[in-house]
């Protein structure tokens, strides 16, 4: 059970959160099929640091952006995803 230091609620058990997906720019609604295809299906799945979105759905209901090591589970950064969205 991991511990995520929510910037709004403080350190909370992983069970309060739901994993969303790896961070990627959400394509524009009129973006090409290939762009959407890549967004939906192509994942990097790295061994090591990984940027990912988690939803604090049993807490503040904010989407958080974490950099989490997939090997050690060390969380090197956590912040609100709002406003930190990867630009297109």
């Amino acid at each position: 059970m991991q511990l995520f230091n929510c910037p709004f609620c403080g350190p909370r058990d992983q069970s309060e959160f739901t994993y969303v997906r790896e961070v990627a720019p959400v394509p524009a609604l009129d973006a090409s099929q290939a762009t959407w295809q890549a967004y939906v299906y192509d994942r990097d799945n790295p061994r090591g640091p990984h940027r990912e979105w988690w939803h604090h759905n049993h807490g503040c209901r904010q989407i958080l952006e974490l950099v989490r090591d997939t090997l050690t589970h060390e969380v090197s950064s956590i912040q609100a995803a709002r406003g930190t969205r990867a630009t297109k």
Partner: protein, 1002 residues
């Protein structure tokens, strides 16, 4: 009955001798004392044979004095509280304890399956894999026989009457293990004022200090333990947890501790859990888990009367039991010399020590000889005589000096293995230390420190020093710790060096006849390991799976290192390069009930109740769960069957008026200047022209173009919408909207808030619904012109805000009324009163399901995560110019193929047959009954008998379905042997031109 315990020493031990405790083993009564384990009490009573081995059913005795026990597994207690495979070495004795031996039939002394030994040549490693693979159809027979022979104890047949609990707690420092190193660490950490937890799996804290004849701070070790525990109890920041096994180390400082709260009592006191699972978040862990002795591998090393050398001195010193009179110690190291000396001191008639080494510290040998202990150097045991140990044969390693020595107890030691399980679980890497001949922690972990024997530091003075240093360090990083609190001086013990050892991994087959067991619990011999090697199972993980080495309840605590060393020798590689198998939680077996904690029965999942719940229950309505919601299925009248009830409700809605609780539907309030833009992006159909006071069906796609959910969108104001979702998807849709608003389109000025629980909502449906509504709201104009289909009316009833949505799921003229949840039941009762004149009846989910199938409305069965809008016959709703989620990927050729299965209706050709949901659609019955693969054309998603139509109806997905109206296919359900000829029809069975919906009669 005599309470005599023949092997009990007159003095010593940590026992309360005042009152003898009565217990039974295999039906026979014995006596022991408070402070005994079941194992020590059995040994005190001279019981040698306690079980039969797993595969060969060989007689076995008590082998260890701790959690590593491979042999003495017991069925503890009786009835619903019976527990299999408990280790006698860790079960605390209580008055009235009942234990039975396992894996024997008809009795422990005479066991029928011991014949397996005779045929052991036919039962090598991998026997099951090789033998029972063919002929394939015989597996059913084999499996039955194997299941009967497999396993050890018996699982209880009744519901567990005990209860279990979770506790969540935090501390700065957790010390695992309360031996000398752990106690020293806890003392040091306690001084800092930080929260310290000291957990130990045994009932009594103290570890090896309870059974080693050594001095600490000039006190006998066990007296020092008493003093130290008293000191620790004086610290308010220290929590002592005896009977608490640290079972696992997880991420971010989480440690689980299984606390056996009342296992040592005959009966749990009221309101006390049997066991408690502590979820402990710790900043630092100090691992002082000690080490486990490993055996030597020689012929018949499994016979009752053979035990670990350290177990012998534990029984003597801690439990005041001398389990034999004529004792032999067999060792390859110095440590076992203590056992020989302690046995002699305790009054053994003869003690003999056999050492495999040529060179031994002369001082040690002198000490033996002056104590009157016979000594054989550079020798080994070649045979163990008797069913239980009666004599051994010893032979010099130079081939001379063969001798037979009478004995009734054989202690053996092949060295010690640090208990590194939790260190490995935490991600630590191990290193094989050739000098210590053991795997030891190799690296420093940021938050876990290993000290004492677990760290390969076997001397008492060293363990105390490492513990003290770790306790200091664990607190040193904190600026709040006062100056001077640290630099704690370790308790004093005589300096020594780590004991000397010269590995001897097996006594060769040439020298000794008989089975040489490596893993005693799983009956794995040296020959099995050699066979695995010959058959190329050379990785340690393969070795484990193929031979079962290191499996079972003990997970190879005594056997793994010996097995790895033998494997390394066969591979002609150093042990270091063979490596170890993975250490996984739990460290020792945990009762399954503990993982469940209190989350069983009605506490298993939370329950959601609508505002009308109490009323439904008062009607005696049978309830169903939808997600976490409870919903009434139907309302039975006196003398009415379940099916008659919902068939009646179905007809009432079609012929008069019905009322149903739809409070479970997801309700999301969306407000803001950009609310419309947001709604346009998440729904694939158009809302740009939806006027205030109107509502419309809405269809939502996933990013991949598949339908996610459907519902309605009502425009309550210029920038105010209320959208509904299906009951099942409400949570998912809410989370999705939040993701898109926060991450994808943070520029949109709107909010989406769940208001599901804020409203009570019910649907009033049927040809007389409008009259009922008019009776409720005499001040309102609810005529078709004022409140037409898909209109919204904001009004009040006695000053309470009420929203009426004219929409229909049933296909009848229908209204959904939404009111603040607290007013729900009152409004519901008024509606029933108003509808009485028009024949109103309440209906449940069963009738609701029938009504929606009759009308061809899709539900969860159709929105199954595989269907597109076109598949559902809703393709025309989708905006052609895109601009919504899912638009891009919905255009993929696989999703736009016109041959895809699409929604159709089915009716039985004979007019009477029932169509089973889940049936496959195939062209002909011959094809349907043919063996092998059948060309399937679709499947039945929803089906029901329709009281209104007088026959069964079904919704189905059929290849190219829209163009096949009028054709006949077979709905095949081979499992129930049903093959129904059905005709393909429109999925809208009732009122296809929507006249009833708009208030007319069809």
């Amino acid at each position: 009955m005599s309470q005599k315990q023949p092997n009990r020493l007159e003095q010593g031990g940590r026992l309360a001798r005042g009152q003898a405790l009565r217990f039974s083993f295999d039906g026979k009564t014995y006596y022991g004392y408070q402070g005994d384990t079941l194992a020590s009490a059995l040994l005190a009573n001279g019981v040698k044979l306690v079980g039969r081995s797993f595969k060969y059913h060989r007689p076995r005795g008590i082998y260890s004095a701790g959690p590593e026990e491979p042999n003495a597994l017991m069925q503890l207690r009786t009835g619903a509280q019976t527990e299999p495979n408990t280790r006698a070495t860790v079960i605390e004795l209580f008055d009235g304890l009942e234990a039975t031996s396992q894996n024997r039939w008809p009795s422990l002394r005479f066991d029928w399956r011991a014949i397996n030994q005779t045929f052991s040549a036919l039962l090598p490693a991998g026997f099951y894999y090789k033998t029972f693979m063919w002929p394939k159809k015989f597996w059913m027979f084999y499996e039955h026989q194997i299941r009967r022979a497999a396993g050890l104890g018996k699982a209880p047949l009744h519901k567990d009457p005990d209860h279990y609990a979770y506790e969540y707690a935090h501390c700065e420092v957790l010390v695992v293990g309360a031996g000398p190193a752990g106690l020293s660490a806890a003392l040091a950490a306690a001084r800092s004022g930080k929260r310290v937890v000291l957990a130990d799996e045994r009932s009594e804290l103290g570890g090896s200090a309870l059974w080693e004849n050594k001095l600490i701070d000039n006190l006998h070790a066990s007296e020092w333990v008493d003093q130290t525990i008293a000191t620790l109890r004086g610290y308010p920041n220290v929590r002592l947890l005896p009977r608490s096994t640290v079972t696992g180390v997880y991420d971010h400082g989480l440690v689980t501790v299984a606390e056996r709260v009342t296992d040592h009592l005959r009966q749990s006191p009221a309101h006390t859990p049997r066991q408690r699972l502590l979820h402990l978040r710790c900043e630092r862990v100090i691992l002082a888990s000690g080490s486990i002795e490993r055996p030597l591998v020689f012929a018949d090393n499994d016979k009752p009367g053979v035990m670990l050398a350290s177990a012998l001195r534990t029984y003597i010193n801690q439990y005041a039991v001398l389990p034999g009179r004529e004792i032999v110690i067999f060792t390859n190291n110095d440590d076992a010399y203590r056992s020989a000396l302690d046995a002699k001191r305790a009054g053994a008639q003869t003690v003999t020590l056999i050492d495999t080494r040529r060179t031994v510290d002369a001082e040690l040998v002198n000490r033996l000889r002056s104590a009157g202990i016979e000594y054989f150097g550079y020798s080994y045991i070649t045979a163990v005589h008797g069913q239980t140990v009666q004599a051994i044969s010893v032979l010099g390693r130079d081939g001379t000096g063969a001798q037979k020595i009478a004995c009734d107890l054989l202690g053996n030691s092949g060295g010690w293995s640090p208990t590194v399980h939790l260190y490995s679980q935490a991600g630590g890497k191990l290193r094989f230390d050739d000098k210590l001949t053991a795997f030891v922690p190799d690296s420093l972990l940021p938050t876990l420190m290993t000290v004492g024997a677990a760290n390969g530091e076997y001397t008492l003075a060293g363990a105390l020093a490492q513990g003290a240093l770790a306790g200091d360090q664990a607190c040193a990083s904190d600026a709040n710790v006062p100056q001077g609190a640290l630099l704690y001086h370790a308790p004093h013990a005589e300096p020594e060096t780590n004991f000397a050892l010269e590995p001897l991994w097996q006594i060769s087959k040439v020298a000794s006849q008989g089975k040489r067991f490596v893993d005693i619990q799983d009956d794995v011999t040296v020959e099995d390991i050699e066979l695995a090697h010959r058959e190329n199972f050379r990785s340690v993980e393969h070795l484990k799976r193929y031979t079962t080495l290191g499996m079972g309840t003990d997970q190879g605590k005594t056997s793994n290192v010996n097995g790895l060393a033998l494997m390394a020798a066969l591979r002609e590689q150093p042990i270091a390069s063979v490596g170890t198998t993975t250490f996984r939680p739990p460290y020792t077996p945990v009762a399954l009930g503990l993982f469940g904690g209190a989350d069983t029965g009605k506490h298993h999942t939370p329950v959601r109740r609508t505002a009308l719940h109490g009323w439904h229950v008062a009607q005696g309505a049978p309830m169903t769960t939808v997600g976490h919601w409870l919903r009434p299925k139907t309302y039975l009248r006196p003398n009415e069957t379940y099916e008659a009830a919902w068939r009646r409700e179905n007809l009432t809605v079609r012929q008069a008026v019905g009322l149903v609780d739809v409070g479970t539907l997801g309700k999301i309030d969306i407000q803001g200047p950009d609310a419309l833009e947001f709604i346009q992006r998440i729904y694939c159909n158009n809302f740009a022209n939806l006027a205030v006071g109107k509502l419309r069906y809405g269809l939502m796609l996933r990013e991949d173009g598949i339908v996610m959910d459907d519902g309605t969108v009502a425009r309550l104001g210029e920038h105010h919408y209320l959208v509904s979702t299906t009951t099942a998807n409400a949570g998912k849709v809410q989370s999705y909207l939040e993701l898109m608003l926060q991450v994808a389109w943070p520029e949109l000025r709107c909010h989406a808030v769940s208001v599901t629980e804020q409203f009570a909502q019910f649907a009033l449906a049927g040809p007389r619904a409008r009259e009922t509504l008019a009776a409720l709201l005499p001040h309102c104009d609810v005529t078709d012109s004022a409140l037409p289909h898909l209109a919204v009316l904001h009004t009040q009833i006695e000053g309470i805000e009420l929203i009426i949505y004219r929409m229909s799921y049933s296909g009848e003229c229908a209204y959904e009324l939404a009111i603040g949840a607290d007013y729900g039941e009152d409004l519901w009762l008024r509606l029933l009163e108003c509808g009485q004149a028009f024949g109103i009846a309440v209906y449940g989910t069963e009738a609701m399901g029938v009504l929606r199938i009759e009308k061809g409305h899709v539900a969860g069965n159709e929105l199954d995560g595989r269907t597109t809008p076109a598949d559902l016959g809703l393709g025309k709703l989708v905006r052609k110019n895109g601009g919504f989620v899912g638009a891009a990927l919905a255009n993929r050729s696989g999703l736009t193929d016109t041959r895809r299965a699409s929604l159709v209706g089915l009716i039985p050709v004979d007019g009477t047959a029932k169509i089973r949901a889940g049936s496959q659609l195939v062209a002909t019955e011959i094809e349907a009954r043919a063996p092998g693969v059948v060309a399937k054309q679709g499947f039945v998603s929803s089906s029901t008998p329709s009281e209104f139509l007088g026959h069964s109806i079904a919704l189905a997905f059929l290849d190219n379905g829209a163009s096949r109206l009028g054709q006949e296919v077979i709905a095949a359900s081979p499992l129930s042997n049903e093959f129904v000829r059905v005709r393909v029809v429109s999925p809208v069975f009732v009122d296809p031109d929507n006249r009833r919906l708009k208030g007319g009669q069809s």
